[in-house]
Symmetry: C2
């Protein structure tokens, strides 16, 4: 939590009446990640005076940590290449995955609510124009990734399984540093084009007239000094989710999540600030999920990156009994679910910690410090790696390590038969690896699993590139994994164009939200790589148009105690 | 939804300023189930003028449908019988189950938050006094159930595994109609003691002064006429959960729930009304759960009762592949979880519907119309029962029935090998039944499973009374089951004495909540039979004391447009 010393503490979110302002602009943007930066740029390009406030000492938020793939249905490169991506099919794919239990292929909105459906339409219609505008203005140029599949490319509902993913131009070949590139180019464009940017400014509450219009924000600087800022047209929140607010996490999320790799400043600020002006909360039960290092999560390591790519062909996950319970190579959002299985007979989350185990082959050939891989190269920080010359030594050391985290895991510890079971599990897995067929969990059978398989030894190779027999003698390596958040998906409910709705579904005048701080229409789905950032850019584009069209408000009440 | 014609539709929850009032009292209670009736009684007995408003045409809410067991730790009968139930042990049991992943036996509050811990203390301290006062006043006399075990009686943390459950005196021997009894006696006492009761009154919103004090409610009668009612001291909500609001359910609950057996009036009114005055929402992800009839839930049958007791020894649950996936006799809250397992490889809830299958033996000997059993007697409504002379005929009819519910289940249908697998499953189950040992799911090994086993044939008996071999020839019977709610557990956050808290954890002056309309400190746990109603009575008792001590407010602003 290195940034915590430079950020004012959270204070009351209760809105206040307008009195006097320290500064003003047409549009105030709260948050400096992809949602906020893009909203600032779009608003500015529409001719607005824009102030952007970021709580942290630097811009970027979670975006800076992201690979910044962005999912843009029917993008220009697809059209240039003749890759068809019809609107109805794309929306069908989104619906199929977002609420599978409600999906109805014969229904006018595929079983989704009208609001969800219209948000999918808005994503489809606006992602490409938003992307092109950002590129034209030099704020975010891209390269197309024609070979990257959607995460559910094998589903019959996916009619354009490859080609929707873009990456910032200039990102490295391994596609891991797009976030750094995007934050840099978008920030530079924002400064170039006259967005007024203030970092170290924590927005605490809204300023609201007695007729209910939002006319500004109150923010505290890192030094504790408070400022009242007027927004003539609108305030747009883009402050991220609530991954780092323990209380919100445990009272809203489906799963017992111990942390995540969102920026440590993602504390659900808009849940509180929005609720305080009567916003409805929605989709609070879901998150963008990923396996993460238990230790980094519990220790609040701000460098934590989700394990997008669980590399290693001679690598398996086992539970406290030493048995496999999942396909290790599932796309990360799905892989994370394995940790949260409730055991209704024992009254426990038996798999809350799974142990990744690998051998020297994977250590030598699948090492990488990118994409959150846990098999890391020599010379890099490997505090999370447990080593043992034998299975018995490994087992003892895992037990010891787990004991130190007991209060975070409900006392989870290895069962007495762990080592014996682990040897049996390795033998069974090795048969699968030799045959190229995982009869238990079907590892490697899906396109997305190959996408994230990571580096492996060039030879000998097994019939299934995701599996190679694990050595039956040491040395062995292990890492403690749990399920975590990239960030959460819930928050105030908005229209597709970002207007925040009150409990009667009326827009709160002048208040907007984009990105992970507001309710996502994706519900439980992770459609593809960049299904976070692509829709954020699309909906940010749409929200700024609506904000631009807002009437100037609050002029007569400024400098007056009205409430 | 038989009551819907007599209830005003939901309108805006936005609070209004006090103008003129149609009536007034010291305390206004909203909701006429156990929470509301007990709060009305306790408030009245403290000397307050009390008005109780119920939305439905009659009092009782979900309570009327309940068996009304009530869980009262360290109750008078236990003390008289010398059954020790020390406070610290009882709280340890609650903590172990409520948030198992956070439970820490060595921590001062067992790993729970201070608020959760103090709420457990409040339940322990107040359940017995509340119960005794209700009994002394003749509002709710009880009989002790010394042989009813807690639902996790086998856990080492349960130091008083039997004796905490009470039942309304006068309930039938089979202990299923306690709710009818309790609503009758509590209503009679309320009328006798001068509580002013109005049914058919839907509270739409709060009346709030410009200083933020709650001073009353606006309610609409069934005829649409509106009333403004002043509460001199406090408004206490006891309006139940959000089981019957589809939008709230799918945006907050952990599981894809299709309905539940709460009163059909439980539409989350206080989620909206509370949020509109800035209340924090908490524990929105959990519900009191139970297997339910898919068909009754989807068809909105107001008579739906959760399957507390899945009777039948020659009865099994199978999924769409014809295989068992769970222990059918688990306590209902746990049994319900089996339906919600997410299949991360296929992107579906593969077990969202399980099929209960039984033979003639169970039909003849395990029939009952009580405790939500699905094996019902001849002459009662058995629309939910599917019959087949053979496994093939049964399979065809199940398929046809499922097809009619496809849009509620994401198109769930039987796999082609269902019938063949079902026969294999029956053979395997029958081996277990003959041996008395379920090697797959350990059916019948826990005290609570015997409690809910229901009636069975007297002979021949098998070694394990919960299992008897299923006949391998027809006739066969089946019912479509899914997981459902008794009611939800989330809502505005309160102190142990029922004060509703805003986003800054400050009490909203004059606003209280008890029961399923506010956040439950039990999180995911269902500690025992009556773990709903016992704590509701305890916390209602405490809330009414706090409300009684509130200053009279709003007097100067009444009849004035202040905001």
């Amino acid at each position: 939590m290195s940034q915590s010393h430079s950020i004012a503490p959270r204070r009351s979110a209760t809105p206040v009446a307008p009195t006097s302002f320290d500064s003003e602009a047409d549009v105030i943007i709260v948050g400096g990640g992809a949602g906020g930066l893009s909203a600032a740029l779009f608003s500015r390009w529409l001719g607005n005076e824009v102030i952007l406030l970021e709580k942290a000492a630097e811009l970027g938020g979670t975006t800076r940590k992201a690979a910044f793939w962005y999912w843009v249905p029917n993008n220009l490169e697809m059209r240039n290449l003749g890759l068809a991506d019809p609107k109805s099919d794309c929306i069908r794919y989104m619906a199929r995955l977002s609420r599978p239990e409600a999906y109805d292929p014969d229904h006018a909105t595929f079983g989704m609510s009208p609001l969800e459906f219209s948000t999918y339409e808005a994503i489809y219609d606006n992602a490409s124009p938003a992307t092109e505008l950002l590129a034209e203005k030099g704020a975010l140029e891209y390269r197309h990734c024609p070979d990257v599949p959607d995460y559910w490319a094998e589903l019959p509902e996916d009619k354009a399984p490859k080609g929707r993913v873009l990456l910032p131009k200039g990102a490295c070949d391994s596609m891991s540093d797009g976030g750094e590139v995007a934050v840099r180019t978008m920030s530079e464009a924002a400064r170039r084009d006259g967005v007024e940017i203030h970092t170290g400014m924590r927005v605490q509450r809204l300023i609201r007239t007695n007729s209910g219009e939002i006319v500004g924000v109150e923010a505290d600087g890192a030094d504790g000094k408070s400022f009242a800022l007027r927004a003539r047209k609108a305030v747009i929140f883009a402050t991220g989710g609530f991954t780092h607010d323990v209380d919100l996490r445990k009272n809203f999320l489906t799963a017992p999540v111990l942390g995540g790799c969102a920026a440590v400043t993602n504390e659900g600020d808009f849940v509180n600030i929005g609720t305080a002006v009567g916003a409805q909360l929605r989709n609070m039960n879901y998150a963008w999920m990923c396996p993460i290092s238990l230790e980094k999560a519990v220790n609040g390591d701000p460098s934590l990156i989700g394990t997008f790519s669980p590399s290693g062909d001679s690598m398996i996950y086992v539970n406290k009994h030493g048995v496999r319970v999942t396909n290790e190579k599932l796309a990360y959002n799905e892989s994370a679910q394995a940790f949260f299985e409730w055991n209704p007979a024992l009254g426990e989350y038996s798999n809350l910690v799974l142990v990744a185990v690998w051998d020297q082959r994977s250590q030598d050939h699948s090492e990488s410090s990118e994409h959150g891989r846990f098999i890391v190269p020599p010379g890099t920080n490997d505090d999370h790696v447990i080593k043992g010359a034998s299975v018995d030594e490994l087992t003892r050391r895992i037990s010891k390590r787990l004991a130190g985290y007991a209060r975070h895991t409900g006392g989870l510890k290895l069962a007495p038969h762990f080592a014996a079971n682990l040897m049996k599990t390795i033998k069974r897995f090795n048969e699968f690896a030799r045959a190229g067929k995982d009869l238990d969990f079907h590892r490697g059978e899906r396109p997305v699993e190959l996408l994230f398989n990571g580096p492996t030894a060039p030879s000998p190779s097994a019939p299934n590139p995701t599996m190679f027999p694990v050595a039956e003698t040491g040395p062995f390596y292990a890492a403690l994994m749990t399920g975590g958040n990239l960030d959460t998906k819930g928050g105030p409910k908005t229209t597709p164009d970002g207007k925040v709705l009150d409990t009667s579904d009326r827009a709160i005048p002048g208040l907007y939200g984009v990105g992970n701080c507001v309710a996502s229409a994706s519900a439980r789905a992770y459609w593809a790589g960049g299904a976070t950032l692509g829709p954020i850019l699309a909906l940010s584009y749409l929200a700024t148009k609506a904000a631009n069209a807002e009437p100037v408000k609050g002029a007569t009440t400024a400098r007056t105690a009205a409430e």
